[in-house]
Structure formats: C-alpha cells, structure tokens
Amino acid sequence: MYGDHIEIGALVRHATTASSDVIKTHATALSTAASLTGDVQVRNRGTTCGALAHADVAADQPAGALACGAIMVARSSSGTREIDAADFFVDSLTSALEPNEILTSIRIPKVGPGEGSAYDKLGRRGGHSDYAVAGAAAWVKTSNGTIEEARVAVTGVGTRPQLTEGVAEALIGTDGSDSAVREASEKAVDDITVLEDLYGSEEYKAHLAKVYVGRAVKAALANTS
C-alpha cells in the first residue's frame, strides 16, 4: 500500500490477489476475477501481471483491471512507462507492451467512501469454471444515493477485454435502481464488435453481456461503503 494506491507486483499469484484483504478491499473486481481465474492449481502458480500481459480475449482479470482503473507499469532497458488499463488491451492476446518491455507491476487507486466494484461471469464449463463466455466488471462511485462515476468492462464477447463507455455514461446521475441498471445494461455491446466463438453466437454473447453487466453493476453498488 502506498498513499493513495495499492501496487501489485509481477510475482503476485492469482491465489494471493484472490485472498489478500488489501486487494479485496481496494480492488474487489480484480480480486474476484483472480479467484475465478483458471483452477486451484493454476491459481497457485499463475500471476496477475502475467494474466494481464497475456491479454486473453476471455480472461477475467483484464476486465477487473479495467473497471478498477489500473495503471500498468512497463519496464525496458530504456526505462519505465505507465499505461492506463484502458489503453493496455489492444487486441486478442495483444497488449500495449513493446517487444522489449515487461509488466513489472500494476497500480490501483485505493477505494474511497461510496466506491465499490464487482466481477461476475459465465464460465465455458458452466458456473464460474473456465474462461469467460461472457464476463463483466463494474466500479461505481456513489454519493447521497446517486451514481457519480462508473467504469464497466466486458470480456469474452469481443476481440479484447474492454470498457463499455455507454453503460457507464447511462449510469451516471441515476440512483442505481434495478430499472436504471437494466436500462444502462442494454448498452453493454453498443461500442463493441461482438464475435461469436465455440461457446456462443453473436446474439447469445450480446445477451449475456447485458445480463452480466447488470449483475456486476448491482454487485458493485452493493459493495459500496
């Protein structure tokens, strides 16, 4: 923990991201995504930074990192640079890292009053097992019952894990009621090229994106302090 943010280093395993009280508090969406990444054995060895650098189309933690507003710290022989999560997941399995760069850590702003985040997904093997057929992460900042800021990201439905700006904009200024969330969730695939794959058609994926965006936003609202 450093002042106003937490930092997760390159060797932090998924199991640690999932169980650390600090990460659960300040980056709930990322922590939950880590707990649903892979399986027990994979979580004992795989690393959060590794999963982010790998930038899989249907991975869980990229969505969590996007919602939590993570800043990626990349290092090369010529120095260090910071990359916003929003600019980090460029394409399928393609991050913004240059060929000579490694991801050495990520920084996430600590949560303040009224902030909360969450992640939910449908796994390829049903429930939460395996990569996301569709996954959504949400972060909200509320004040006096009104949503002031929001970030919502989806994974598994497009060419890369990405933010859905339309949903976030539609949530701001609302009271986060079920109907407000439902209406905002309808925009889940507005700015996104939905790709079908072995696990779902375009229509099914688009539908799932809306369902899971709704669930993630509701859970994030429930997680606000």
Binding site: G38, D39, V40, Q41, V42, N44, R45, R125, H128, S129
Partner: protein, 166 residues
C-alpha cells in the same frame, strides 16, 4: 543446471537442462511415474503434485523453479503402507476406471480436503475443476472425495450408491 529439492521426504539433486519441466524431472529423472503427462499445457491436471503444500500442475513449472522446494507426488501419499483416506475413497467408491487422471485427482482432492474437510458437492466439483477425466463422468470421483472427507472427520462414510435403495 544443478537442482536440489525434497521429493516425498527424500533430498534429491541432479544436473538437468534448464528447460526440463518439473513433471519430466519427476518422471524421467526420479523415476516416479505415477505423475502423468496428459496435455503438457496446463489444462488436464494429470501432472498435479504438491509443491510446498500447494497443488500445482508440474507441467507448468521448470524443475529449476522448484529449487529447494518440498515436493509430494502420488507415491508419497500413503503412510507406512497404509492408504491415505483419499486413496481409500477412490478404492472403496470406484473413483477410477482407466486410472490415468487418478493420481492428479487424488493430489487435488488432498489439497481440497486440507483446506476444507466438509466440502459440499459443489465445492468438491469446483475444487477439482483443474483435473479432467474422460472415463468416469466425475460422479464416482465426487463420491470418493465425500468418502475421504467423512473418514478425515472421523465419521462413518455414506454407503455407496450401489447399496442404496434409490
């Protein structure tokens, strides 16, 4: 490269190529062939062992990454000739057919029960979802783990499916 570790309680060391996977070190160098190679890509779990008490897919590690570690393989699970409760469960509840996934299943199940000795069926299925089985449909594997959990808690295990009325 020189690598040293403890395997099933015995200190071992060897000179290996750095690219040697832990599973190949265990099988080819240590001649412990109970740990199986199913996919070599970290998916199937047949290579699952314990590294410093944690279930790990040994095909996802280099042997040299296990330097100084405490490794347990399927061969190290029975004590003084007595089957581990999980092994007994797989025996008593017919938790295997071809047996290829079984060592990995047992290693994962032991790790699961170490964390939680009264898992629900959902928790069992979730706890071993890093291990694939092509024969059993997982049903009797779950029963085997339930048997073992009961034994570990010191309780009478539920009767096998084939002895129940319906």
């Amino acid at each position: 490269m020189e690598v040293s570790m403890t395997v099933n309680g015995r200190a071992v060391s060897a000179d290996v190529e750095p690219r040697t996977l832990l599973v190949h070190f265990i099988r080819d160098n240590q001649r412990l062939t109970g740990t199986h190679v199913g996919c070599e890509t970290g998916y199937c779990g047949a290579c699952t062992v314990h590294v410093d008490g944690k279930a790990v897919k040994s095909c996802t590690m280099f042997a040299v990454q296990a330097e100084g570690a405490d490794i347990t393989t399927i061969e190290g699970v029975a004590r003084n000739g007595e089957l581990h409760p999980v092994q007994e469960g797989f025996w008593e509840r017919h938790g295997l057919q071809c047996g290829f996934c079984t060592p990995g299943m047992i290693m994962s199940s032991i790790a699961l029960l170490d964390e939680n000795d009264s898992p629900s069926e959902t928790e069992i299925r979730h706890g071993i979802d890093g291990n694939l089985c092509r024969c059993t449909g997982y049903h009797n594997i779950v029963r085997a783990v339930e048997y073992a959990a009961a034994k570990i808690r010191g309780e009478e295990p539920p009767p096998p499916d084939w002895e129940r009325e319906t």
